[in-house]
């Protein structure tokens, strides 16, 4: 244990890792603070850069950039009422109300401080949950993997803030995309239409860049420019945070726990965690009436929650290759490329790398406090950059980055195509995250499904025979039936109330 820890320290204390981490932190803070550029987009655009780094440095950039971007989305949320990332949307109103009351420092300070605390809580959950789960996962057969993958896909559709039917449709679209190519049980070209470039299948990373970056530039074409940030002088940002921590320690802990749980659930990420925690904070607060008028309580809980989900989202990603959120989906792609294939054996064979990931998460969250404070102070200048200068650069990075992934122009075509797909889906209420999950998990789902079918030799029974498989199956089927039950319940309830009034 101690030796692994020392090995991990040696892994991360190289100049490459330190510089990569610092640069990625600044990059994450800037991208996160610009409205319309999300943490997922920041991470997706980083991927081409990670090709040229060592495995640990590559993961360091992702860890640092995603953690920072989630916090820094709070800055325009508090100052402009425009969330920088979707994860800050839940409480942007509340934070802005605080700014109007002259408590901008307190709101932003709470953002920085509770984000860091939440991030560290998330890492602790990763450290505590992952190794024992890896022990269990070692005995998994394809049946368990099949149900687990199905459960993951169903979770993603359940938590989407949209129609579950559309979410499931989105997931199917993603799975269909993953069918393309010759990497299937028969090794035959499938849905390639004779195009050689499609033989290798659709790479998840260009698809992600298209869905999250190009689609965003497309939306920017049709939406008005956000107003510039009024320049203001800030007082002490960290003042009063310790008092808040003591006063709202229970809310903070609850936010951490909710964030961790939502992070572990596949497909649900920081934005979901923030919405749920903010709602929870309001529901259980003693001062409900203060919510919406610039009350810090909800900020504490939601801020602690959305950053906790970032680290815990890595739990299913590292163990099973099932992404806990869209950022982890990108991280999985990078892990594969760097020879750190997700799976339970990662924790025994590459233990020092795992420890290095934990350490980097902790460092990133500590680094967030000074860098975050600096960022808050210079935010007014960064937000001066008009969209018409930022978006063209994003476009260039999309083109060059997607080309760099395979040194192949087909990557650029993929990015453009998925930009359109992502844009159309989003505009019509189909959750994009569900499709992304389908693309990332497709090959794994199919492999587990087909191998299980071959092993079971036409019988359904083996899918339920093993105890863990049976439990996972019950959960997956429950998740599938849940929207149906809610739907039936909603249909029945008005009927009951009508019956009650007529009686």
């Amino acid at each position: 244990m101690l030796k692994t820890l020392l090995d991990a320290l040696a892994l991360i204390s190289t100049w490459e890792v330190i510089i990569a981490m610092f640069a990625a932190s600044v990059y994450g803070l800037v991208i996160g603070s610009l409205p319309g550029l999300s943490a997922t987009m920041a991470t997706a655009l980083l991927v081409p850069v990670t090709f040229y780094l060592s495995p640990i440095a590559a993961i360091a950039t992702i860890v640092a950039a995603s953690s920072m971007a989630i916090f820094s989305g709070d800055i325009p949320g508090a100052l402009l009422r425009i969330p920088g990332t979707p994860a800050s949307a839940a409480y942007a109103d509340e934070a802005y109300a605080m700014t109007r009351k002259g408590q901008a420092e307190l709101a932003l300070g709470a953002g920085v401080w509770f984000s860091a605390v939440g991030g560290i809580a998330g890492v602790l959950s990763l450290m505590i949950l992952a190794p024992p789960l890896a022990e269990i996962a070692l005995s998994f057969s394809t049946f368990e993997y099949f149900w687990l993958a199905l459960l993951g896909l169903m979770c993603a559709t359940l938590v989407a803030r949209s129609s579950p039917v559309k979410a499931i449709a989105g997931m199917f679209i993603g799975l269909l995309v993953s069918c393309i190519g010759i990497e299937n049980p028969g090794g035959v070209p499938r849905f390639t239409f004779g195009i050689t470039d499609l033989f290798g299948g659709i790479e998840p990373i260009p698809a992600l860049v298209g869905v999250f970056a190009v689609a965003q530039v497309m939306r920017a074409m049709l939406t008005p420019e956000p107003p510039p940030l009024p320049r203001r002088k800030f007082g002490s940002i960290m003042a009063g945070q310790w008092k808040l921590t003591r006063k709202y320690h229970w809310q903070m802990t609850r936010g951490n726990i909710v964030g961790i749980i939502i992070g572990v659930l596949p497909g649900a990420g920081a934005d979901m965690a923030a919405w749920v925690s903010y709602a929870m904070s309001k529901r259980f607060s003693k001062e409900k009436e203060k919510f919406g008028t610039g009350h810090v309580e909800g900020l504490v809980e939601a801020g602690a929650s959305n950053n906790a989900s970032i680290a815990s989202g890595w739990v299913p990603s590292l163990l099973f290759g099932i992404p806990g959120d869209t950022i982890a989906a990108i991280a999985i792609g990078v892990l594969y490329m760097k020879g750190l294939n997700p799976g339970p054996t990662l924790f025994t064979e590459k233990a020092s790398s795992m420890y290095a990931i934990y350490l980097m998460f902790i460092i990133a969250n500590i680094l967030m406090i000074p860098l975050g404070i600096a960022m808050i102070r210079v935010a007014a200048y960064i937000l001066l950059a008009p969209r018409s200068t930022v978006m063209p650069i994003i476009m260039l990075c999309c083109a060059v980055g997607s080309f760099a992934i395979g040194n192949n122009m087909f990557g650029v075509v993929t990015v453009a195509a998925f930009g359109v797909i992502g844009y159309v889906m989003e505009a019509n209420g189909y959750p994009v995250a569900a499709m992304v999950l389908g693309i990332v998990m497709g090959t794994m789902v199919e492999q587990a499904f087909v191998t299980s079918l071959i092993k079971s030799d036409g019988s359904v029974l083996p899918f339920f025979e093993r105890p863990v498989a049976a439990i996972l199956a019950a959960m997956a089927i429950g998740a599938l039936l849940w929207p149906v039950m809610v739907w039936v319940w909603r249909k029945l309830k008005p009927a009951q109330t009508v019956a009650a009034t007529t009686r």
Binding site: F172, G186, M221, S388, P392, M409, V413, G429
Partner: protein, 167 residues
């Protein structure tokens, strides 16, 4: 690009059916009961069923309407999008980014990275409302910066084309 659910749903039905049929006609692997055809068959069927459900409006009640943030006094109202004035063509502006990416695919090898990138940056930037004195320097400088990072530092083989970079 907000289409009625019946349109998107019908599209999914067609897509699902096509996928299922495409899976069905794939050759089976000899001596193996389950081959590459099963998965597309399952997915295609599922997608078609989802499409049908969407056409009939099942699950629509779950959709949350986008919450509009009410304006408060002292906060300037966002200018109404000019789309109303320019009619339906305005919506097509959204297709500009993917179109520019395709332009990059076809032009980069002939024109070279720097020229293609400059054209892309200029068009995107003016489409987003930049003035000439901002868009021109941006288009002139940013391709070199990106080339420096990706081409020089990360050694991505970017096409030189007509205008090779000084390094």
């Amino acid at each position: 690009m907000r289409l009625p659910d019946s349109v998107t749903g019908s599209f999914l039905v067609v897509l699902g059916a096509a996928a299922a049929y495409g899976g069905y006609i794939l050759p089976p692997v000899p001596g193996q009961p389950v081959g590459p055809n099963v998965f597309p068959l399952v997915i295609g069927t599922g997608l078609a069923l989802c499409g049908l459900a969407i056409v009939f409006g099942i699950g629509h009640s779950f959709e949350e309407e986008e919450e509009l943030i009410p304006l408060e006094d002292g906060q300037a109202a966002a200018p109404p999008p000019q789309g109303k004035l320019q009619g339906k063509l305005y919506g097509l502006r959204a297709l500009l980014p993917p179109a520019l990416l395709l332009f990059y695919v076809f032009a980069a090898d002939r024109l070279g990275f720097i020229i293609t990138a400059a054209i892309m940056v200029y068009i995107t930037s003016t489409a987003l409302g930049a003035k000439l004195k901002l868009a021109l320097p941006l288009a002139a400088l940013s391709p070199f910066a990106v080339h420096l990072i990706f081409g020089k530092l990360l050694r991505v083989p970017l096409p030189a084309g007509l205008l090779p970079t000084p390094w």
